[in-house]
């Protein structure tokens, strides 16, 4: 696609339920990132995928959070047993990552609200 696509754009869920957030990166981009942004705050790094390498999961806040990237393309971020503190905007970005073409392009985000 022309840009990074995230779905859903908004998600309201009840505390304790599981949610899945989807990211469809720009075609051909080998690097994919997930970040979390709480209201008016900075970007919290969650996880980073690079090609077929093992992902860098160092930013995941708890074992309730997991992510996968299938076929080197689409990624899914899963949050199990959601808590109210999980409420935030979840941003996905992708990057070509070679030579001078290193900037990351962001999706519009998924706004997650846990009630």
């Amino acid at each position: 696609g022309a840009g990074v696509s995230q779905s859903p754009s908004n998600k309201v869920t009840e505390k304790g339920k599981d949610v899945e957030l989807r990211c469809d990166p720009i075609s051909g981009h080998t690097a994919l990132y997930w970040y979390r942004q709480s209201l008016g705050q900075g970007l919290e790094f969650l996880i980073y995928f690079q090609g077929n390498s093992a992902p860098d999961k160092s930013g995941l806040p708890s074992d309730r959070f997991s992510a996968e990237r299938t076929g080197g393309s689409v990624s899914t971020l899963t949050i199990q047993r959601t808590q109210q503190e999980d409420s935030a905007v979840y941003l996905c970005a992708s990057s070509l990552g070679r030579g001078r073409n290193t900037e990351a392009f962001f999706g519009q985000g998924t706004r997650l609200t846990v009630v």
């Binding site: 970040y35 970007l43 790094f45 941003l91 001078r100 290193t102 990351a104 519009q108």
Partner: protein, 113 residues
């Protein structure tokens, strides 16, 4: 691991005045540096990047940034601020040959008429 610091949570300037948003970084290796802007209820938009070459890089909307290796800084500047520049600005860093990108906490720029 690399990291970025944006020492100012908030920057206020009057329209028409020059603006500076500060960023310092810490990396092991050669840095690639980036600035992004986030307007209200919008995603992050790429503004400019430093890869190599001239220390002064120019980007979108009249913004520029100066890479200073000795001070490990990459401050964002604009000669004459517009009210429409009011937004949240993020500095980011990654290392050559490594796609792991880390962002600063962001600086909220407010330009008053």
């Amino acid at each position: 691991a690399q990291s970025v610091a944006q020492p100012e949570d908030q920057v206020n300037v009057a329209e028409g005045n020059p603006l500076t948003v500060k960023c310092t970084y810490s990396v092991s290796g050669n840095p690639y540096l980036f600035w992004y802007v986030q307007y209200p209820n919008r995603g992050l938009q790429f503004l400019l990047k430093y890869i190599t070459g001239d220390n002064l890089v120019k980007g979108s909307y009249g913004f520029e940034a100066e890479f200073n290796k000795s001070q490990t800084s990459f401050h964002l500047k604009k000669p004459s601020a517009l009210v429409s520049d009011s937004a949240l600005y993020f500095c980011a860093v990654r290392v050559y040959n490594n796609n792991d990108m880390r962002f600063g906490a962001g600086t909220r720029l407010t330009v008053k008429p």
